[in-house]
Amino acid sequence: MSRLIRLWQRLSPAAAFDACVQPHIERLWRLAVRFQGNPSDAEDLMQDLLERAWQRREEIQQLDAPGPWLAKVLYRLHIDRWRRQGVHSQLVNWEELEETSDLMPAVSEEQAVLTAIAASEVLAAVDRLPEAQRAALLLHDGEGYTVEEVATIVDVPVGTVKSRLHRARAGVRHHVAEGTKSPPAACIEMEGPGEKQ
């Protein structure tokens, strides 16, 4: 950090806040759009994020890498909205779901199934995933956060993130290959960040 920035931070909280957050805005915006599915709701989510970040600006400015912190807040806000929207209708013991993940067989298609279809169809299949898997996929495969960063953002162990990523990828292939019309699995998988704590 340059001497200029350090002196600037002493004087102007708003400038320091801008310097911390601005480099991450585009990436967070992409994530917000993917999470929410449309720019209008994504804009509201971003507004909530920036207000929350402003309230905790002193904490952010102490971080070496505020990006994952901001993504974590964005994710939590997204989950809060998702829950309020009442997407889930059944409570399922999340621990049981995690334990059964290792029993899931690897995808057996011997031909690539995604290469011949449009990106919009792939994204539609992503939206059919359980929310926890979809979030892991969007963060890791979409926005390039490392598995360790995703684990921090969604507040689960690294192994759980790897498992979710695998199941998410397999799920997308399955949805595309089968053209299934079943309801989104999000209806039964309601795990959120707070429940693992």
């Binding site: 400038a15 971003m46 690897a106 495969d141 598995v147």
Partner: protein, 196 residues
């Protein structure tokens, strides 16, 4: 099947180069003989490409709304340049130039003052103090007339940009002072109408 599962979960480590060499060789050998895992690998690449598709641009109104709310500073051209030479323990000041290009927000004018503090050697624990005239604020510090803090100067250039908000009709002097080891130097910069 278990081996396929393990291999498919290793793709990220393989891409990131964080896989152990022996494990990497095992995964590659498996890919050569397993069509299902090759197909999975191809699909993961395609999935990543799809997720990298552009999204609608960040709405300008969001950016503007946030900036208005927090009054985030927009960098403007240097309003004034003050060169404060700190030679060892002897402080000297020189005004080396004045240029300005203020922007206007409602009834306030933005102006940035750049302080250049050049030191021949690193100076720890330098006391820096700014006194502002009536109607002048440091952006983000509303209502504060005096800002004082302690900092270390590096040897060489130390630059401090001060984003100011000047109320319409405000004038007076910004008084900047630097103190170290019992020696103090002060410099005054004219602000407001007469300085525009």
């Amino acid at each position: 099947m278990t081996d396929c599962h393990t291999v498919q979960q290793s793709f990220d480590d393989l891409r990131a180069g964080t896989i152990r060499p022996g494990q990497a060789a095992h995964v590659r050998r498996h890919l050569q003989r397993c069509a299902a895992c090759r197909a999975f690998y191809q699909d993961v690449s395609h999935l990543r490409s799809a997720l990298a598709e552009p999204v609608p641009p960040l709405p300008r109104r969001l950016s503007e709304r946030v900036k208005r709310r927090y009054r985030l500073p927009q960098r403007v051209a240097v309003a004034a340049m003050l060169l404060l030479l700190v030679g060892g323990f002897v402080l000297r000041t020189d005004l080396v130039g004045v240029a300005q290009s203020p922007s206007f927000v409602e009834d306030w004018t933005r102006k940035t003052i750049d302080l250049a503090l050049d030191s021949e050697k690193a100076l720890p624990g330098v006391h820096i103090r700014l006194e502002l005239p009536l109607g002048v604020e440091v952006e983000g510090r509303p209502g504060e007339r005096v800002l004082a803090w302690q900092d270390d100067l590096d040897a060489g250039a130390n630059r401090l940009s001060i984003p100011l908000m000047l109320e319409q009709g405000a004038k007076g002097e910004l008084v900047a002072s630097v103190e170290h080891d019992g020696r103090r130097r002060e410099f005054r910069i004219g602000l407001g109408e007469e300085a525009r």
